[in-house]
């Protein structure tokens, strides 16, 4: 079984997000980049599913040369080979086209993404890729098992969960619970340097939307402290001032 894992390169979760003075682009100075945490779960799942078989795990990233450190980390964790589509990942629509194009030319049994990237939080790529390839997709999966030529996928719904049986090939967005992220070991790190990393050119995709400006959330006013011995005052504030109870 061959699995394609889509990896995005995102600011470390501890990053303070600030913008250029005209608010048109995020500041990248001093920001550490990491594999998107959900993509790490997807990658771990792909390795779990192929370990001890002749199946291959290929990671794909749409990004400029600077993302290669992140791609090498995915190889160190255990992917067999990598592909980088040499382009700025303009938006999910663009990225999904690149992935779908690659997967059309190189068929896979499963395509895994993270449920969302922690920068644009779109939850779009899995469903877009599924649609572009004409195959099923589950955007937010909590569990994935393979039974013969079908995947058993558990997905979250409001107030519960749903279990689906879906024929391969399919696209799944991995969320927590799918697998435990793996930490690269020394052998992995050494071998990552020599694993194949192919760089391919992007396909043109018409632009449908673009970000014009970023805003930071309104700062909250300062906190009103209430004494631990007077919780009634808190109830009163929540009722009369905040009007939330």
């Amino acid at each position: 079984m061959n699995i394609l894992v889509c990896i995005s390169n995102v600011p470390d979760t501890t990053s303070k997000i600030t913008f250029s003075s005209d608010h048109t682009s995020p500041n990248t100075n001093g920001i550490q980049y990491i594999i998107n945490p959900y993509d790490e779960i997807a990658l771990a799942k792909a390795i779990d599913l192929t370990e001890g078989t002749d199946g291959k795990v290929v990671v794909i990233n749409v990004g400029e040369a600077a993302t290669e450190a992140t791609i090498r980390k995915a190889l160190a964790i255990g992917a067999h080979q990598a592909v980088r589509v040499d382009a700025v990942p303009r938006d999910a629509w663009f990225v999904a086209h690149q992935i779908a194009m690659y997967a059309k030319n190189n068929p896979f049994d499963i395509i895994l993404t993270g449920r969302e990237s922690i920068e644009y939080n779109g939850t779009q790529v899995a469903a877009y890729v599924g649609e572009l390839l004409g195959i099923p997709s589950v955007s937010i999966a909590k569990r994935i098992d393979i039974e013969g030529d079908r995947a058993i996928v558990e997905r979250e719904i409001e107030g519960g969960k749903e279990v689906l049986s879906i024929p391969l090939p399919l696209v799944v967005g991995a969320a927590e619970g799918v697998a435990e992220p793996r930490i690269p070991n020394m052998r992995g790190i050494m071998s990552a340097r020599t694993k194949p990393l192919e760089v391919i050119q992007p396909t043109a995709v018409p632009e449908l939307s673009h970000i014009v400006k970023y805003e930071s959330p309104e700062p909250r006013g300062s906190v009103t402290l209430v004494s631990a011995d007077d919780v009634e005052q808190l109830v009163d504030l929540l009722h009369n001032n905040a009007r939330v109870i």
Partner: protein, 324 residues
Amino acid sequence: MSVLVYTEHTEGKFKKSAYEAVSYAKAVADLIGTSVTAVTIGTVAPADLATLGNYGATKVLHVSSEQFAQFINQAYASVIAAAATHVDANVVIIANTFSGKGLAPRVAAKLEAALADGAVELPQFEGDKLNIKKTAFSGKAFAITELTAPKKVIALNLNAFEVRESGGSAAVEEFKPEVPAGDFTAVIKDIIRITDKVPLPDAEIVVSAGRGLKGPENWAMIEELADVLGAATACSKPVSDAGWRPHSEHVGQTGIAVSPNLYIAIGISGAIQHLAGVSSSKTIVVINKDPEAPFFKVADYGIVGDAFEVVPKLTAAIKAYKGN
């Protein structure tokens, strides 16, 4: 030109997120001088369908064929796209629920529409384009996005737009779209519903607790507080990592992002990754024994104190208030 809104339901009942979506669709339609059609898939009583008019829909397209009884993402996306074409919609609104998130990109791709996911406000139209504010960086920022394609799909965040009732009633019409057989390859094997608890993603009040609670055996007081408030329970990441609580309760940058009217954080330090997922809550209350806990910096109300003393007192005080 018109606005189409997809109205999701659970076993025939619409949830608040569906009413929010219709209210939002109506406000969008008013901006461009057009009307709202809702599309509902699966069995819903005619009287319930007509009530969508109360939130601003003029017409409801109802797809009641047995074939669509269960939610199959691909097939539902085909239905919504067909409905959009049927009513010549240039804007399609979908609530950003778990299912909605899987549908919106497919619908957008079919219509070659631009997609704004996680919208938090009404758009601003400029001719054929629109600007819309959406969440980004896991709640650490917003991105104002310009949608330039002629057709637009907007996935509206839950609890981001208030329900508006206008008192109307909608005309219900049966809709029978052609959907390719290939859309039905997925099969639902099981649906497990947790009915005795308020679901977290669309809860109006969330009571959340962290490592300060020391162990899973201490969650009874959290559940009791949630109970008296009609709230959902949530937790920080280390708590679900340790297996004290299920993953579905984990909020934050790598968990669920919530924006309830009231978020009560108990024994949670307020790490940047946690705050990312909760900072758009309308009111935040923090209970922590450490006055230096970073969470106080983003709280509206705070109590510095031991959770094991404060929480039972707060529960009692709310009970007393509700009793009156």
